[in-house]
Symmetry: C2
Subunit: 135 residues, 2 copies
DNA sequence: CTTCGGTCCGTACCTAAGTACGGAGTCAAG
DNA sequence: CTTGACTCCGTACTTAGGTACGGACCGAAG
């Protein structure tokens, strides 16, 4: 596992992570991302792990985690003490599983809709709501 | 299936749906919720189906759907033409499945972390990022 | 050693999704 | 028929998550 030294400028870094430079700065202000020290000069350099981190933030966000929650997830990676991490991770695991259940329900209903629709049964009054109704 | 007539005032309705009154009005402005006509008087009445609808919106939101996307999902229920519905639903189905994949990945990593942590292997440098790294 | 794109930083602005406010109207109970 | 709680409506404010702006500075290329 070669951990190459930080070598990317913000511009390159941001592009690699698929966000814009301002977002990087924003995440730094929020404490989601370190501000690398700037050896030899006043310009900061970033590494691949930073890119991965930002990509992770974006993925988690798409799944409905707020930046604050993402910060919680990232804390595990950042070496919180084992006990705290376990408790927090267990909690998050519950959350995630609840989300999975909900999503699976939606998936089932959508799949069914598409299916019925394909079978051309005239007016399909799709019961998406009904399906979710069961909480 | 008894569809009782609208009989709830906004206040009761909002409480039943677990949101506040202003949110109801907001959803109406956004077209996510009908504004019931007000038979006999100037006060609006809502029914159980409205409650279900709002609850659905809230569920979908928790899963990372924006109100706009939720509106899209609800359009199926509201009887769009079959062809359009099928196309849109198919698209949504892809989205949902992508979300499911991501969530499952996170679930796996979290479960693994909790597990390892329970086994007390000292400092766990949890590779949440690495796991998500594979997109 | 100039030059010109990139960085740095503070501050201002933007959209989504609500929340709050205040005045006017309503309606059921006393 | 008055009161007090609730509704209605427009408008303004708030929070999260960014985006945009503009002046000063840096640093590699010519």
């Amino acid at each position: 596992m070669k951990t190459q030294p930080p070598s990317l400028t913000v511009g390159v870094f941001a592009a690699a992570a698929g966000v814009n430079v301002e977002t990087i700065r924003f995440y730094q202000r929020k404490g989601l991302l370190r501000e690398p020290g700037r050896a030899y000069g006043t310009i900061r350099r970033y590494g691949e792990s930073d890119v991965a981190r930002v990509k992770f933030v974006k993925s988690a966000q798409r799944l409905g985690f707020s930046l604050e929650e993402v910060a919680g997830l990232l804390a595990f990676e950042d070496g919180t003490r084992c006990d705290e991490a376990r408790v927090a991770a267990t909690q998050k695991l519950h959350d995630v599983r609840a989300k999975l259940d909900d999503l699976r329900r939606i998936e089932a209903v959508l799949a069914q809709l598409v299916d019925r629709c394909r079978a051309r049964r005239g007016a399909i009054t799709c019961p998406i709501i009904a399906a979710l109704h069961a909480h």
